[in-house]
Symmetry: C2
Subunit: 290 residues, 2 copies
């Protein structure tokens, strides 16, 4: 499964951001991609650094202008595109929503981010209602894709449920970075933890995983913090968690041949699904077991 | 929490193996350990390379000779010891059982391995009935320890349930290695996957993790395979999954100060327990969701 990964830095100019994405999608097509994945909320700056009611004006319906824009590209090049949009679902009801656009330009399915973070400079609970449709991979013409978004990557439960529902790969559009006051050792620990836990989802489930992050520096409009330096480092891991390809911290595009066909073989040797103790997992649906 | 990790290679001579363990425990005590963890089934060779009914003669009751032996050491040095034994529970009923021996020499609790592997040279389903008491950390005088065993390490569910029940660290006595025909790249992928998924349990749950493996070569008594080279590489990871200390592939003893007190701080910054979507995890108790 030849998969294009677009790691991009953005400015306030959405039209320019989208033009750059279009160019990168076309580069992926030139390199043979049949699937292209973009970072989280790729059309704009990462607007969650402050809580500002005016920012909701950025949201759009699905289908809407962005699905039309990327749908036309998907159809023109006969590829599947994973977009990540700020969705206006109803007046006053917004989601952080990934859209899988099929190779004919139609919407194959959406995934509304289930786990919503909230910490200084990532005030997502202000903007996004938690998704209400659970963890379901999206069936496309080229495979069944487990689309999850950013904060979801820290939760093994999300990856497992996608795999149990037949996902042949996991794709994480992401916007994660460092606050300017983090010390270097802490930065490395955070980035390494981020890579490690996503690789572990590949291992636990025997399927490839891709993480597609934004990069570049974005100031905090409120100046309350020093802004975020998005750390890039997008990567693809095979079904044993092995890194197949990765980018550094600068903008870049790569096309990776994901070894989805190895899943059967890996699961024969590492038969975790055979041995899961489903009789003893009930507590997982509790908040805590105290 | 100063924790001793004993990585040992064994022979057919159980008395000699136990003597070596005693010496290593005393070394750990000299280095200030209050907790000592030994590898899986540390008294004998790894006997699961073949299916042989005579091997059940190695099993013992709990309490029994081994808990008396290690209990005396625990009491003499006022330390907690995690032992890993071949338990005879009833005629014809055997388990792979970890025992937490408290600092007064008493048995604080046991954990019967829940996930049982079975693949060539690891015929554990022949010897061990799956544990029937679920995933419960053991309360000792020095803390609440999430004791899991080897194959459990591949299952995020086990780690999560231990953390949800208040484990302040996870400890994995282990016996894992390479078959002689594995190519070098495959060996590295396997070992790296093993390290990665255990580090991910630290990250997901914000608690330290230690993996205590055996090392050395043990031939296959049936000569059906080339035997197992246990890869050692025991390690300790902090609550962000960072490697604190690790051994190579040879015998060794180390005492690591596990930063259990960082859990509160790490979970404030990475509040995964706050954000788990417990309303959407029900499917985890199913075999598959097809």
């Amino acid at each position: 499964m030849k998969t294009g990964i677009i790691q991009q830095s953005n400015t306030f100019d959405s039209a320019a951001n989208m033009g750059k994405l279009r160019n990168s999608i076309e580069s992926c097509v030139d390199m043979g991609a049949r699937l292209v994945v973009m970072p989280e909320l790729h059309n704009s700056l990462y607007f969650c650094q402050t809580e500002d009611p005016a920012v909701f004006d950025l949201a759009e319906s699905i289908p809407g202008p962005s699905t039309a824009f990327f749908g036309a590209l998907a159809k023109a090049h006969q590829i599947v595109i994973i977009a990540s949009l700020f969705e206006k679902r109803a007046p006053g009801l917004y989601h952080n929503t990934a859209v899988a656009i099929d190779a004919d330009g139609s919407i194959a399915g959406i995934y509304r981010k289930m786990h919503i973070p909230d910490d200084p400079a990532y005030y997502e609970k202000f903007y996004f209602a938690p998704g209400d449709s659970g963890f379901h991979p999206i069936q496309t013409s080229i495979g069944r894709i487990g689309v999850l978004v950013c904060w979801d990557q820290w939760f093994p439960e999300a990856a497992r449920l996608m795999a149990m529902r037949g996902a042949s790969l996991l794709a994480y559009p992401t916007a994660i970075g460092w606050e300017s006051t983090d010390v270097e050792a802490e930065k490395l620990r955070q980035r390494d933890a981020w890579t490690t836990i996503q690789r572990s989802h590949a291992i636990a489930n025997g399927i490839p995983v891709i993480a597609v992050n934004r990069c570049g520096y974005e100031p905090d409009p409120s100046a309350a913090t020093g802004g975020i330096t998005f750390w890039g480092n997008s990567f693809a891991a095979g079904p044993q968690g092995e890194i197949i390809a990765e980018l550094k911290d600068e903008e870049g595009v790569m096309v990776v041949d994901l070894p989805c066909s190895q899943t059967e073989s890996v699961r024969r040797w590492w038969p975790f699904f055979r041995d899961r103790r489903v009789d003893a997992y009930d507590g997982l649906s509790e908040r805590f077991l105290d």
